[in-house]
Amino acid sequence: MAVSGFEGFEKRLELQFSGDDPSAEGHGLGLRWLGFESLEKVLHAVQCTVVSAVANHYFDSYVLSE
């Protein structure tokens, strides 16, 4: 590892899914059904944790550590 400051440039990943049925149980929540524990496990693989969150009718938003 090089001696350095903090890396600013981000990596950005966007994954699109299909198959969510708005008429089914969950009313089209799709990925929003994912429990917080599941998200934490995903973020553990990335090496981040949630430090703050806000949501509205359309989506969930999390500010992460790092």
Partner: protein
């Protein structure tokens, strides 16, 4: 860093030496449990400031592509990987070709370096400040003018100790996000925003002017994905208005994302 979860889409943006691509495998497993199938993937990044500090699978773009190829399902047959203007790394994969002609929604990703040192200082915690990160974050949002960039959005912000800042803004189904590393010598800020309207019909130009004035960077890159194809002209006008000059502009088509236009700007001294 930020995470956005929509019913049919997830966006993760992480900085530092995080291992972002390792999120793919667990996400696909959880999504499958919900009956969801991956239909598209887009991975983007700029040139790292400290590339030798990046861990596997991020040590170089070739390695990242190999990792993506190994972890994405074969159904995503339309794939493309390009480095635009030797800076902007783009990988896309999709199970269908996106028609960008009818898609007026666009994502704008802005990377800024060499921030004005006086403005960057506002992203350091005050000595002795023992407030939680959420409280200090709100203070930074206020004093820097970030809250004025899109006054209609609900902001979720956080200040790190001893310095650094992250925010997510949400407004209806659109998000914006800002991340700041203010240390002199490798100062950096990013801004991402989802806009709509042909030619950047909503406030793209005004938003970008405000962003540039919050940080006054010496260099700025702007990547626009999707949209009507004319947004780049608004970007150029707005950014040049605040003293930066366009140094390069490149465009490419991606079957999974539509058109990507990548512009670089720098002050006269660069």
């Amino acid at each position: 860093s930020s995470l956005f979860v929509y019913p049919n889409k997830i966006i993760i943006k992480t900085c530092g030496t995080t291992q972002l691509l390792k999120s793919i495998r667990p996400l696909l497993i959880y999504a499958a449990d919900l009956g969801l199938t991956l239909s598209g993937c887009r991975y983007t990044r700029g040139n790292f400031i400290f590339p030798k500090s990046q861990p596997y699978p991020h040590t170089n773009f070739r390695e990242e592509i190999s990792f993506l190829e190994a972890n994405l399902p074969n159904s995503l047959i339309y794939r493309n990987a390009t480095v635009m203007a030797n800076q902007w790394h783009v990988f896309t994969a999709s199970d269908h070709v996106i028609s960008h002609v009818s898609d007026e929604v666009y994502t704008i990703e802005v990377c800024m370096t060499e921030l004005d040192p006086v403005l960057a200082r506002k992203f350091f915690r005050r000595p002795g400040d023992e407030n939680p990160g959420e409280v200090a974050g709100k203070e930074m949002t206020l004093i820097t003018g970030i809250g004025e960039i899109n006054p209609n959005s609900t902001i979720c912000d956080f200040a790190f100790d001893p310095c650094g800042y992250s925010m997510n803004g949400i407004e209806n189904d659109r998000y914006s996000t800002i991340h700041v590393t203010p240390e002199d010598g490798y100062s950096y800020a990013s801004f991402e925003w989802v806009g709509s309207g042909y030619g950047g019909g909503d406030d793209l130009g005004e938003v970008l002017k405000k962003v540039a004035q919050v940080f006054r960077p010496a260099t700025m890159t702007v990547a626009i994905t999707g949209g009507g194809g004319e947004e780049w002209t608004l970007v150029k006008g707005a950014v040049e208005h605040v003293g930066l000059r366009c140094r390069s502009c490149a465009a490419d088509e991606f079957p999974a994302a539509g058109r990507v236009v990548f512009q670089t700007f720098a002050t006269r001294r660069k």
